[in-house]
Amino acid sequence: MKITQQSTESTLTLSLDGELDASSSVVLDTELSKPEILGNQKVLIDCRQLNYISSAGLGVFISHLQTFQDAGVKLVFFNMQDKVHNVFEILGLDSLMTIVPSEAEAVAV
């Protein structure tokens, strides 16, 4: 799992490249656990190169969602591949998290 960061004044974009499983999801958890991340208004997750997600990867997002909401940070996913979106749908997580098709829509949320 490779994570690339891009930051503007109020928005942090994390681009995920690879597979999020029980082996690799710890890298993402470390990134989302950094206290300074809560200083953003938005954290955008670019999923274009995210080829796979298991419950371990989902668990990382589930575990941080409330902290983000409490701090007023919007967590938005975009560019999600169909097979990855399907995994969110199977659990109904697509209704608990904000997932939009494009970066332009993610910025506009």
Partner: protein
């Protein structure tokens, strides 16, 4: 085609099992979505057995066997651990509650149960067998 694989109990081998199952399914002209779902269900069970069942002890092994017969995919995952998984202890999680308390794990078996048609766990002495089935019509 190879229908069986033996792996040691390390998280690094999760990818090895995923590739093994994907490769097996590729020749059956299934959609990318269905292949990903089956690979995911297998990955979840294998991760549980590696991490919780065998404590990531690399001297322990899992035997994985796949089969497709009469339009039904099946997979057997076998280990010889003393702490077998007990499906009777499974309760479908409340995801809104998980979000509220910031819970990191616990949705793996929910995925497995929602994706596969049948999920069976049996124990015979120290031999534990998990069988997953899915119709591919």
């Amino acid at each position: 085609m190879k229908h069986a694989i033996r792996i040691s109990c390390t998280r690094r081998n999760l990818k090895v099992v995923r590739d093994f199952v994907s490769e097996f399914l590729l020749s059956y002209h299934l959609s990318e979505l269905v292949i990903n779902q089956i690979v995911l269900a297998v990955d979840e069970v294998v991760a549980n057995l590696i991490i919780h069942g065998n404590g990531e002890d690399e001297s322990q092994f899992l035997d994985v066997r796949v089969n497709l017969q009469n339009q039904e995919f099946s997979i057997e995952i076998e280990d010889t651990n003393l702490t077998s998984y007990s499906p009777t202890s499974y309760v479908e999680p409340d995801l809104q509650e998980y979000v509220r308390i910031g819970k990191k794990g616990g949705v793996g078996m929910m995925l497995v149960n929602r994706i596969m048609d049948r999920v069976e766990f049996t124990t015979d002495g120290t031999r534990n067998l998990c069988r997953l089935y899915k119709k591919l019509s």
